[in-house]
Amino acid sequence: MFEAIAFYLFAFLTTVMFFITVTTTQALHALTALAAGMIFISAFFFILGADFLGAIQIVVYSGAVMALYAFGMMFFDTTRDVKEKNGNKFIVFGLSIIAAVLIVVIFAAPMVSTNIVALHPMIEGAGNTQELGMVLFTKYLVPFEVAAVMLLVAMVAGIVLAGKKMDLSLTLMNDAEIIDAKKEQHKKVL
Amino acid sequence: MLNHILSILIFFPALAAMLGFIIHKDSIRAYGVAIAAIEFALSLWLWFSFDSSASGMQFMENLPLVPAFGINYILGVDGISLFIIILASFFTMIGIASLTDTKNEKNMIVTLLFLQMTMAGVFAALDGIVFYIFWELSLVPMLYIIGAWGGPLRIYASVKFFLYTFTGSLVMLVGMLFMAYFYYQATGAWSFAILDWYRLILPESFQLWLFAAFFIGFAIKVPMFPFHTWLPYAHGQAPTIGSVILAAILLKMGTYAFIRFSLPMFPDASVFFMFPIAVLAIIMVIYTAMVAYAQEDVKQVVAYSSVSHMGIIILGTFALNVEGITGSIFLMIAHGVVSGALFLLVGVIYDRRHTKMMSEFGGLAHVMPRYATIFGLMLMASVGMPLTINFVGEFLSLLGFYKQSHILTLLAGTAIIVGAIYMLAAYKKMFFGEVTNEKNKNLPDVSKRELLALIPLSIITIWLGIYPKPILAPINNSVESIVQLMHDKSITNEAKTRIPNLVKGAEIAKTSEQGAH
């Protein structure tokens, strides 16, 4: 019973939050609603016994990602009202609602599949984090490492793109200009 | 060397063309003529070494290309292909020799040599894919020739020519793939070898579909009504040399392919489609002749006349008997010579006046008597005057088809009437009457260089009209083997009766066995 109440409550909250996120004209509201929605989602994780995920959901999303977005928002100065020209609202909402309805139609019916064997069953007596760690560093060691590479890529990419380097076009400058620019940059760094 | 003469014939001009890039542009014509002459000499050598009494393939070469997929580089000639190869090299030679001042002469000659390669390849190939390669490749130089040296509509014309033919041949390619697949199903091995395909006996329904697929490719190339509209544009816009080779050789690819592929591979379908195709051929004959009559541009007249003549060739092919098929092959050569010559002749006047409109001329017989004489000769050949080369082919083609249908032959026979109408009308407009146009008053008669090309053609026109035997005999032998093969392979009663039995089966089986290995 508790579970049901919690589910519906958080379901309601998340839906509303996310709905606000996609509809509001206030960027700040959107950001806040998104952050809130993320936190509510972590609640589901806790309900579902995925404590570790709940934690990283809060940490990574609400912490890191939201912080990044907030930074971005400041940078882009989008705290003002967002003016968006929207043509046909029907297309937007229509399509999405159709999508939702279609999938719901299917999902409302229970699956009849059997033969589902847990490949990595929950281990009795171990905490969620431990269990996860166990699988992560055995079976999913490679994806984990690749994810690390991915983060490295993202980092390098972020640095390259957002850094000073892209301000000038080395393609269009001639050699003398490049040397000047480099000196300039050097001074600033010093 | 004789063992590889076909490969040499194919690739010698291509290699020479590559070398041609480094030759100085002042010397390129001499180079081109020399190469083409050597090529022609080689093709003559091929003829002399050819055993005219044999009916099967000769000078066969077989190199694995993609054996895993049954694609092999198989070459060979028989009486059917031999003379078209010779004709091709001949036209390349006189085409280069008679080139009048063109811009980018070097590019032109290199292109022509490449074209020669593809032409030799098409007629020598005995593997479906190798055939297809040359078939398609021949479009490219022609595209360039029309597109780069053509008239005001050259781009439209060349692109139309390319795409139209390209589309058709892609459909044909699918047909070939089916053929190979059926062979695979029958034998468990892939093969695109034509002689292997000859051995397949397909159910009639398969034959019909495959025939249709091949038909589209060939019909566009021929070009058969109603797929012919690229031709007037191509001819109308092409430079003289382009038209000459297009009419003389490239169109023959389609009719040749009918004989090489459609007939022996799908005898029942050939019989099934005989009358529809004959009707199309008759439309080609009569309708295009009428259209030719309505033309104002002399080159278009010749262009449409080509279509009209191709109708007779198709008719002869689908006579499905020795007389008709032999006639149609002979007519291919004949039409090659005559229409090639006619286009050269049109080129002569175009070089002088830079117009091809008949209304611009009149009374040319006064100022250019030699020109008028040669034109008259070719005109007579074109309308099928006996003792000229065309007559032999037309006579045999019609004779052959008469066996299949009297009424249709009667209709097709009107070719000799309608052909005369447009040709004579055009001749009258250009050559007869008084010289009314000031610009025509002082036109020089044909020059030595032009005669160099025209006189051999005239000689051939008459010589083969009087004595066609050296060509007719080898063709006849090969055709007999094909007809017999068709008879033996056919499964419907209709086909058995329509295709004569010549009782020479044993020999054929031997040939195709040789081909298979």
Partner: protein, 502 residues
Amino acid sequence: MIEPVNVSLASLNLMTLAPMLIPIVGALLILVIDIFKVGLDKTLYVSISLLFLLMDFSALLGSAGVFTQDGIMMGVFNVMLIDGLAILSQFIIVGASMLFIPLALTHKRFHEFSYPEFFALFLFMIAGFQFMVATDNLILVFVGLETSSLALYTLVAMHNRDKSFEAAVKYFTMGALAAGFFSFGAMIFYALTGSVEISQIAAVLAANKYVDIAYVLVGVVFMLASFGFKLSLVPFHTWAPDVYEGASASMAGFMSIVPKIAAFVVAMRLFEFLIHSGVVWLEIVLYSFVILTMTAANIWALVQTDVKRMLAYSSVSHAGFVMAAILIGTTQSNSALFLYWILFSFTNLGSFSMLWISRQKHLPLHQMSDHSYDKFAGMVQTSPVAASIMGLFMLSLAGVPPFALFWGKLYLISSAVTGGYTILAFIMALNSAIAGYYYLKLIVYMFMKEPVMGNDGHVYVSNATIALKSIIGFAAIGTIFAFVALNPLLELITAFVYNSGY
């Protein structure tokens, strides 16, 4: 309590990881070098990249050797899956990358090549693609996909022009949506089968006899959408022309080949078992995708005024063409896919490189875009060899024999014939004919038109260096003489595909 896990090193079969690790090491090395010494010349980085790719390639040769002897290899807790498909596609990925990376050695200076990060990202990206194809675990596919995609977005953007940023943003945003689709699709399969490994999914679905077909279909839809994006199937292709136009020609050429083969392999793993288990729906849908993509992209390519954009649409069309192989789903068709793609790589490498060497920094006034058709008008008069080579590539793309792509088309259409898809075979043939038009258009411009005023022909090779010329020469030779290598190639591919069970 959790039992300690004992893992023997041998059972991990770490060798399966070797090919992917090499480029990663290379990338790290580049980053490290950059830390110690700034401003080194791009030639160094190109050489390092090439070196590591070469090592990668050799490692792949090793894997191939093992595969021919022992068959399919699983490694590292069965996450890695080295089968014929993985090896073949990695060959294409690494091989094509080796050919594309020297395109950085341009005559002119371009922004992105001034930065070692470019090469590091490039190598990371290769590794990402390699991971993507060398597994049947959807998680690793996803992570590999994202690694490579993120790197690719950045590489596109690093060309540092308005258009390239626009392209990167578009690509990125749509990529993010596609990532959402992918995860949703994976979720459904997971919900259905409790597994994210394709082989397992297949097994469970088969055991259940596809009772939850509706679920399966929804999962397939989202997977299709996601791979449709990556493979640029209509209507998920909309990014392709813009991104190709925005990216540098070399990068566009790269994008037309490498990411797609990776996506094809995953799509093959995912859809093949569904098709074989008789999901009619999927067959119909793929059929429509194939036809729609081929035809629509062809038609759009017809009306382009920019060569690069035309080539973008043409790549879309080719992707649709190749998608047919997955639809047909026979050993022959799957082999045809690889054959086609190898031959396509050569040709596209050549044609995009030709665009690349003619790249100008500033647009002349009369030119609407970087590579508008007008730019190539009358090219044969000023640089005949370049024009001939470009024409050659166009003919190959159009499928004119005996150039490379013809053989691909031949084998693919043949597989359609063999697989019983007659209509499809004809449609493919007719589409090739439509495609002929726009390839021809460039030839027409190059060979039959008069040059635009003020074009002295220098522009066509303005960016050329020995390296670039060699690449083009290599591509040209590959395109012309493809038939020489065809038989061994075909036998190899067929054996690999067949032994992988496809």
